[in-house]
């Protein structure tokens, strides 16, 4: 309970600010509607010069309730988003294209494979880099440059290239999945790479000397010391990696004309002028991200407990 208190306090604060902001964002539309219907409204008055939205709300308090119930609000109220989430999950058939769980599963599939591919790539690169100075000098600059290129810029090119190369057909899966997995892996390998390099290099000189006194081989040093020593670093970066993979997948779904996935829902929502739909997909993505990180954290707990970390 005590642990939940700060979280609940912050949540309450966010909700309070949000509910205060909704009328200000949506009042203009209500005022315009009323004017069109011939209902008299009050002008913003003197305060309007400084805070036009606030002044308009204060001048027309009877229009406030309507700002919380618009069909296409500039800013939907939290309860409208929750309602939409409920309607598009529990209230719709799972196979339906309107079901967010269905779209979430599509996104989850790419996120998962992007995470697997990206993490493996990051780990393998880190092992190579920590074993050879030459490999480090050859690879590391490219790894850093790869992250300075905005994903939104590179994503469409990856889609086009992987489609024309027919990668999906070779692998026996949908082309769209392949491009999304590539983009997700592109984002998620980097934190794993950086974390693993740090982890594999974490043993201090004394521990390396100790192994030397046993005349241990490089391989023994790797499997008995470097690898286990890197585990805490690995999990820290896997948590960042899986979130990056989710972002990569959604970005991959946005510009590609994808018809499935949370990113596609966001795109469709904005194209059809339905902010509630965009916000609902956004919330679904946030929840999915939270769940994924929790799963990694759970795995971390299981592994570190087996490795003797104090409870």
């Amino acid at each position: 309970m005590t642990r939940a208190t700060p979280i609940l306090a912050v949540l309450a604060l966010i909700l309070a600010v949000w509910y205060l902001a909704v009328p200000m964002a949506n009042i203009q539309w209500e005022v315009d509607q009323a004017a069109r219907a011939g209902t008299p409204t009050n002008p913003a008055g003197a305060l309007g010069a400084v805070l036009p939205q606030t002044a308009l709300v204060l001048a027309n308090p009877d229009l406030i309730p309507a700002t919380y119930a618009q069909e296409r609000p500039v800013l939907p109220a939290p309860h409208q988003i929750v309602e939409e989430l409920w309607k598009t999950t529990a209230g719709t058939k799972l196979s339906s294209k309107k079901n967010l769980v269905y779209h979430g599963l599509v996104t989850l599939t790419s996120t998962f494979w992007g995470f697997v591919v990206g993490s493996l790539l990051g780990i393998v690169m880190a092992v190579m880099i920590t074993r050879s100075r030459t490999v480090e000098m050859g690879l590391m600059p490219w790894a850093i440059i790869s992250q300075t290129v905005p994903v939104v810029a590179i994503a469409p090119m990856i889609v086009v290239l992987s489609n024309s190369a027919g990668l999906g057909e070779h692998l026996g899966v949908e082309n769209r999945l392949v491009s999304k997995v590539i983009i997700a892996a592109y984002l998620s390998y980097f934190p794993v790479l950086v974390g693993m390099i740090k982890g594999l290099r974490s043993p201090d000189p004394m521990q390396l000397d100790l192994l030397k006194t046993y005349s241990a081989s490089e391989g023994q040093g790797f499997f008995k010391l470097r690898l286990p020593a890197s585990v805490p670093y690995l999990f820290a970066s896997l948590k960042v990696g899986i979130a990056a993979s989710l972002v990569g997948t959604i970005v991959g779904e946005l510009p590609t004309g994808a018809v499935e996935g949370l990113g596609a829902r966001m795109l469709v929502g904005s194209q059809f002028g339905s902010p509630i739909m965009v916000w609902a997909a956004l919330f679904a993505a946030a929840i999915l991200g939270g769940v994924l990180i929790s799963i990694v954290r759970l795995a971390e707990g299981l592994v570190t407990r087996r490795m003797g970390v104090r409870a």
């Binding site: 004394m206 521990q207 000397d209 100790l210 192994l211 030397k212 006194t213 046993y214 005349s215 241990a216 023994q220 008995k224 010391l225 286990p228 585990v231 490795m307 003797g308 970390v309 104090r310």
Partner: protein, 265 residues
């Protein structure tokens, strides 16, 4: 008794050993013309201020550093050859136990690397845990043990593969006085039981005098030996031997040696 020891074949022999480190500030003469013979069963302490090369000399014996001149042999072999023959166990200042391994798992580490079979590993772990008075602690993780117990576990790890030489680099330096006294007493018992040859680096004069059959006094810039004292104290040493005139006399000579080394620079 003393004669048989003196005629015993030298375990460690250094003749004109020099070691120069190349650093950004130019060469540092860590060891200069070091001559020393350590016989089987000796307990030799190296004492001196920091920078006197005592740790460097111990590391050279362990083949963790390469002398740049002179001859250094361990069991009649070059140090790295002796290391491959499992000539020594090394104890560092920090216990350096792997936090992800139990105490037994940590002691098994050298045994796994050296390829002992599972049954042999388990038997050896039991034996050395008993030797350092940690029987029953094998399943604990390092964080569940006190600093002194962790250091005892690291000594057990160094003893596990039956090396005849034990090299210890300020093993009790990070522990408090009371724990240190007890561990010194236990170390002497262990030495008496196992008959190992021990090389022991320390900052502490009482520790060096209490433990050693031979005290090597060193001084810095360049690192060199200024005095070698063969202790007249008996091998059986209760803690209160430190109040005897003989003990105080040796301690005085060590202190004089350290002071003489210092006035040189």
């Amino acid at each position: 008794m003393k004669d048989t020891l003196a005629t015993a074949s030298p375990v460690i022999s250094a003749q004109g050993v020099n070691l120069v480190f190349q650093t950004g500030d130019g060469p540092v003469h860590a060891l200069k013309d070091v001559n020393l013979t350590i016989n089987k069963g000796d307990f030799v302490s190296f004492i001196g201020p920091s920078g006197c090369g005592k740790t460097t000399f111990l590391r050279a014996i362990a083949a963790l550093e390469q002398p740049t001149g002179g001859t250094l042999t361990v069991n009649g072999m070059a140090p790295d050859e002796a290391r491959r023959g499992r000539a020594y166990g090394y104890v560092f200042q920090a216990a350096g136990l792997y936090p992800w391994r139990t105490i037994a798992g940590n002691i098994k580490l050298p045994l796994e690397i050296m390829g002992f079979d599972k049954a042999e590993q388990a038997a050896r772990v039991e034996r050395v845990l008993d030797l350092v008075d940690l029987a029953g602690f094998g399943k604990k993780f390092p964080w569940q043990l006190s600093g002194g117990m962790q250091q005892r576990a690291s000594i057990a790890r160094a003893l596990a593969f039956d090396a005849d030489i034990l090299l210890m680099d300020e093993p009790f330096g990070a522990l408090d006085e009371i724990v240190r006294d007890r561990l010194n007493e236990e170390l002497l018992k262990l030495w008496a039981r196992t008959g190992k040859t021990i090389g022991f680096v320390t900052h502490s004069i009482p520790e060096a005098v209490y433990l050693s059959t031979k005290i090597v006094v060193m001084s810095p810039r360049p690192g060199r030996i200024t005095d070698v004292i063969d202790s007249p104290l008996p091998r059986e040493r209760p803690l209160d031997i430190r109040d005897t005139p003989e003990f105080i006399q040796i301690a005085h000579r060590v202190r004089e040696g350290l002071r003489a080394g210092h006035s040189d620079d």
